[in-house]
Amino acid sequence: MPEVLKAPLVVEFPFTRSLGPVQSAFLTGLRERVVLGVKTRDGRTLVPPVEYDPVTAEEIRDLVEVAPTGTVTTWAWNHEPRRDQPLDTPFAWVLVRLDGADTALLHALDAPGPDSVHTGMRVRVRWAQERAGAITDIACFEPYDGEPAEPAGHSGEFDDAVTGIVAAARLDYTYSPGRAQSAYINALSDRRTVGERCPSCRKVYVPPRGACPTCGVATSEQVEVGPGGTVTTFCVVNIKAKNLDIEVPYVYAHIALDGAGLALHGRIGGIPYDQVRMGLRVEPVWTEGARYPDHYRPTGEPDADYDTYKELP
């Protein structure tokens, strides 16, 4: 079996999220070093506070300040912190019930080692130096052996309340395209286009994805197609793409390579954009070191007859 192709794939998604009134008050409070809970109708105080009662689904808005001190209700020792976690030295994950709250908040506890942590231990908030209205405004918790702090009775009303958060996320993958696409990509590096034929309906897929979607069977017979092909349809692009050094207008086309059962797409060059037409015969143009054709240009052959490509999508 040929070597499996692999490439790094980074997916980043900075979600911008708006906040409900309770979330807004809680996160704004953290910015101001105030911890707020929300009271349910049956008198419990939820920290972190939520917009709706988790039992009754009733809307809840009655904010109450709780202490920045509390008690660990369960913990787990994390000896190898991962990239985006709150501390980069070994720490304990903890659920902490703050003094005045009936529920627990998840965060990190900075402690010297697992032997110094236990359920029931007393802790307090360590505030981040720079705070923006986010759960990370709590840098972490730290051991605390004093009395419960007295909350000041904050109303939950703030000037300049935060109304949203930007939640950045990055995940690093190793992409591997699988058998059929690897064969396709490997052939391209020899400037050949290789599709795969369905053993059942005989259609040749380019690029191949490993299965015939009509028959639901594996394609495996490799078939070299092209290099020439026929424009089956096209559009004129008038908007310059970011990071793409191509003058507009230009033509982007569906091209059925000779022998292929469906069209792939590519840019048409070497001909004024307003002279491109369905049926135009084209061939790939490769640039040095490229892994796929830069564009396709006219071959000079007579146009293909419509009947030869009308069934090709």
């Binding site: 988790p54 369960t74 913990w75 359920t119 939640a167 490993g210 639901g216």
Partner: protein, 356 residues
């Protein structure tokens, strides 16, 4: 909402089950290349062709491999053109089975193909799973899946419900049972290893791997034609806990218990339970919530501790339970699937064979 099939409804059964060998990596295969042999195998077991299937439903998540719309590419393996009646859930395949079951109950279809797949190998699974958490208060801290399970395990230890040696025994029993399961990823003696996130050791955690599974459902007489001993679905129900971990009692699973009750699990004893407990400590919670005593054979397949292809592992539990009924090894089985942190969502299905 449930999920007891009403008395007038038709009987629906799992008539076939197939799964891949679950592997640490399948980087030589695309999703559809990994999935397709399982689809063919499950169809072959019944003699059905794609064109005979009334409804197709799948479960998967694009986040696992970082490939947008991977489920549409996977659909190539079904033979979905001309268009078929089809649906997808961004959930474990057990929830796809639930959708297919309700579809068959309506009478809209007589047969259904349900499949699920997951390739966890391309990405950092522990971190990927943080993206399903509360985006305001929890996800920004990136608490990984093992850390959250470890918080639950410590709560169980504090409550006196288990200890490290009892957890190790669950791990050992699971991998020992898996020696009879040729598809399992971890089999036989596996060291408990060092703490990963204390109190959980590597042995308490599921293997990370890639895999796929498929089942076929059929209604009434159609099921009897397709399978010598159909695994009749007597009920399915799924329930969810409150979102915030800090409002839950992590040592219990009221949602699993309620789902089991609504699915009819407590009406008569089951002889077998396939539990989707990726961490040893979660089996402790589920045994308590589902009232399983030592008379019940738990996870004869080895369970998720032996193979945990994310998005398929829950469907595998239903498939394994059904396969035991097909083989005559069980008469009444409970199958459970979970999703989310610390058993947040739970699905319970009750399966029965015809009396012998």
């Amino acid at each position: 909402m449930t999920r007891h099939a009403p008395a007038t409804a038709r009987d629906i059964a799992v008539v076939a089950f197939a799964q891949t060998d679950h592997r640490r990596t399948s980087d030589d295969l695309s999703e559809v290349e990994m999935l397709m042999p399982v689809l063919h195998e499950v169809l072959d077991l019944t003699g059905l062709r794609t064109a005979d299937i009334g409804f197709t439903c799948s479960g998967s998540s694009d986040y696992l491999a970082g490939r947008a719309f991977s489920f549409t590419l996977a659909l190539d393996g079904v033979g979905a053109w001309p268009p078929i009646s089809e649906s997808h859930v961004e959930m474990d395949g057990a929830w796809a089975l639930y959708e297919a079951w309700t579809k068959l109950l309506t009478g809209d279809a007589d047969t259904a193909l349900v499949y699920a797949y997951g390739k966890s190998s391309p990405g950092p699974l522990r971190d990927v799973l943080t993206r399903q958490l509360d985006p305001y208060y929890v996800a920004p801290l990136w608490p990984d899946s093992v850390a959250l399970a470890a918080l639950q395990a410590q709560a169980l230890i504090d409550a006196g419900d288990t200890d490290e040696s009892a957890l190790a025994a669950i791990a050992a029993r699971s991998r020992s049972d898996a020696t009879a399961n040729p598809h399992a990823q971890l089999r036989g003696p596996v060291p408990q290893g060092a703490p990963l996130v204390r109190p959980l050791r590597t042995g308490d955690c599921p293997p990370i791997g890639d895999g796929a599974a498929a089942v076929i459902l059929a209604a009434g007489e159609r099921a009897r034609e397709l399978c010598a001993r159909p695994a009749w679905i007597r009920g399915v129900d799924h329930r969810i806990e409150a979102h915030s971990l800090g409002v839950r009692d992590l040592t219990d699973s009221p949602s699993a218990r309620l789902a089991a009750e609504r699915a009819g699990a407590f009406e008569r004893p089951v002889d077998t339970a396939e539990l989707h407990a990726p961490f040893t400590s979660q089996e402790v919670v589920l045994r308590k919530a589902l009232r399983l005593d030592d008379a019940v054979r738990v996870n004869p397949s080895g369970g998720a501790l032996a193979a945990n292809p994310v998005m398929a592992a829950g469907l595998v539990r239903i498939g394994e339970a059904a396969a035991r009924i097909h083989r005559g090894d069980s008469d009444r089985a409970l199958a459970h699937a979970t999703s989310g942190p610390c058993l947040q969502q739970n699905l319970v299905a009750v399966l029965e064979g015809d009396p012998r």
